[in-house]
Every structure is written in C-alpha cells, then in structure tokens.
C-alpha cells in the first residue's frame, strides 16, 4: 500500500483529500506547512509527496529543493491553483515528477502517483 505525504496550507482541503485517498487504500500523511512536511519526510520517508506550490513561509518549491537534495529518490508531485506554466516549468527544472492543477481529479492524481512509483521499478531494471 502506497504511503503518500500531502502538504497544503488549506486544512479542509488536505484532510478531505486524505480521507478520499484512504478509501482507495492509500496511506496518507498530512502536513499543513513546509517545515512540518520536511519533518515528516525525515521520519517517515514517504515515496511520494503531493505538495501545493503556494504556501506561506516555506513554499512548495523550497521544500522540493530541500527534498531533492537530501532524498532524491522521493517523488514530488506539485499542485497549484495559479495555472501558469512558469511554476510548472520551474518545478520540473527543480526535479518535480509532475505538476497538476487544482482542483484536481482524484483519479488523475492517483494515476500520477502510481506512475511515479512505477518509475522507480523501471529505472531499477
């Protein structure tokens, strides 16, 4: 069963998303800011992180850079409501696996997460 860290400063959003993922046999971990996210990453080492780009304080891109430096094997999927290619491209350049727009279709999100996990096994081969 996949372990996923969800990071978003909108509590209602991230907890509901977590609930929905749970119904789909995914173990969600939840953080509402960048610092908390990094802490959980250190302790739990989730294979996939789904993170909002726009967060006060440590933003999604900052956390992404930190994660990639320390744990390059962790896949980060970025979420944003801004809708500009700039964030997406910057994120990709910084090492994000993919980039999705909010509000996101849960099927698409899960597909992307699975695709990220699959890429591990493929590259391992």
């Amino acid at each position: 069963m996949m372990k996923v860290l969800l990071v978003d400063d909108e509590r209602e959003f991230v907890t509901t998303l977590a609930e929905r993922l749970q119904l789909r046999d995914i173990i969600p971990l939840v953080a509402t800011d960048g610092d908390q996210a990094l802490q959980i990453i250190e302790s739990e080492k989730p294979p996939v992180v789904v993170m909002d780009v726009m967060m006060p304080g440590l933003g999604g891109l900052d956390v992404l850079q930190a994660v990639k430096r320390r744990h390059p094997e962790i896949h980060v999927i970025l979420l944003t409501g801004r809708g500009s290619t700039q964030d997406g491209i910057r994120g990709m350049r910084l090492g994000a696996f993919d980039y999705l727009m909010k509000p996101v279709k849960i099927e698409k999100l899960i597909e992307t997460m699975e695709s990220a996990c699959r890429s591990d096994t493929e590259s391992a081969v």
Binding site: E12, T16, M54, M55, P56, G57, G59
Partner: protein, 225 residues
C-alpha cells in the same frame, strides 16, 4: 496598458465572477438537495453523520466562495470607468483583499488600521484601476521590506487638499526601521503616479519604515490616451 486593455480586463473579470457566483449557487442548491434527500431517509445508515458534516463544510466553503466573488465583482466593475468617484475606504478594502493572499504567503499580515482612518468617509475623483495598481505596488514594496509575522498597516489621513495613504510596516518593535527601496525612475509605477497626480514618498515617521502615497482629492482631467 491602455484604457482599452484595462476595460477589457474588467469585463472579462466581471463575467468570470458572475459565472463563479452562478456556479456557487448551483453547488449550494445541489448540496441543499442532497441534504433534503438525506433527511427524508430513515436514520440508520452510519455514513449519514459524516454526510451532515461534509455538507456543512460544503456550505461553508460555498459561502466563502460567494463572499470572495462579491469582492472580485466589485473589483472588476471598479475597473470600468477611466474616471469615477471613488470612496477611499472601500477601495482600500478591495485592494487589501486582493493583496492579502500574496502577503499571507510570506506570513505578513495586511490590515486596515481602524485607528487611523478618515472620518467621515471621503471620496475622490480618479482612475480606479490605476489607483488600485498604485496601492498594490505600495503594498508589494512594503512586502519586500517586511519579515514574516510582521504587519503592514494601512492608514489614511486628510492633509489639506490631499489624502495621504500610509503603509506602515509594524515590526512589533523588534528591529530598527530600514529604508524601503522604491523602484527606479523607469519602473512601471511612474507613469501611473503621474497620471494620478500622486506623490510617493518614504514614511516620515521616526522609528517606522513604510510609504506614503499622497493623492489630490479632485484632480484635473488628464486622461488622454
């Protein structure tokens, strides 16, 4: 940024917010219907308590969306006129609303200082959109000079034939004030300030850093584009 462009943007935003409101209304009705249908069922399914909670949340968020859209609507309509009568208080509310999100991202809080406002409410004649851009620029400049957990207070004061709008960085006394970097001569702000007949200066209060934007209460007609 021509007047045509601005007007078009205003219209597009206005139509967008109108659609948002319609959609929110639909969501409200739909969730209301779900609520009604659930209430008609016999009370035995354990899932129903969760539904009540979910529906309640949906309602809350819908209301949140509606209030945001109303503000956006006001914003988009304020763009229409090249010159109009503007209530300073209302306009500042609008700009603070638009800029709050950006400030929150840096954990800086943008607030209207109720202790320093002009009574009774004052109106000026000006170009609403350009004024909002100027005010937003002031806020961004202050934001660049503020640290997390600090506040930006927005104050207004009457000074003779002009209104002074002050943006004060409230550091809670934790550090000495630093001079803000006002963007250079050829920055985007100058033509706008000239158009508004506004003057932008550093805050002249000792021990505080910030900006003062001074506007004439009634400006001469210089909209010629």
């Amino acid at each position: 940024m021509t007047d045509q462009g601005i007007n078009f943007f205003g219209k597009i935003t206005a139509s967008a917010t109108h659609e948002f409101i319609n959609i929110l209304a639909t969501i409200r009705e739909t969730s209301g219907l779900i609520e009604d249908l659930l209430s008609l069922r016999p009370v035995d399914d354990s899932g129903d308590e969760r539904f009540a909670g979910i529906l309640k949340k949906i309602k809350e968020q819908t209301e949140r969306g509606v209030s945001i859209c109303e503000k956006l609507n006001a914003f988009s309509h304020s763009i229409d006129e090249p010159r109009s009568r503007i209530l300073i208080g209302g306009l500042l509310d609008q700009v603070v609303f638009l800029m709050q999100g950006i400030c929150r991202l840096q954990r800086v809080y943008l607030i209207r200082d109720s202790a320093h406002q002009i009574e009774p409410p004052t109106a000026i004649i000006s170009n609403s959109f350009r004024l909002q851009l100027a005010l937003a620029s002031c806020i961004e400049t202050c934001l660049a000079g503020a640290l997390p957990e600090e506040r930006i207070r927005v104050q207004t004061e009457l000074a003779g034939e002009r209104i002074a709008i002050r943006f004060v960085i409230d550091t809670n006394g934790s550090r000495s004030p630093q001079k803000l970097e006002i963007p250079g001569r050829f920055g985007e702000l100058n033509p706008i300030l000239n158009d508004l007949e506004a003057q932008l200066t550093h805050l002249d209060k000792p021990g505080q850093s910030g900006l003062t934007l001074s506007l004439p209460i009634s400006s001469t007609d210089n909209t010629h584009e």
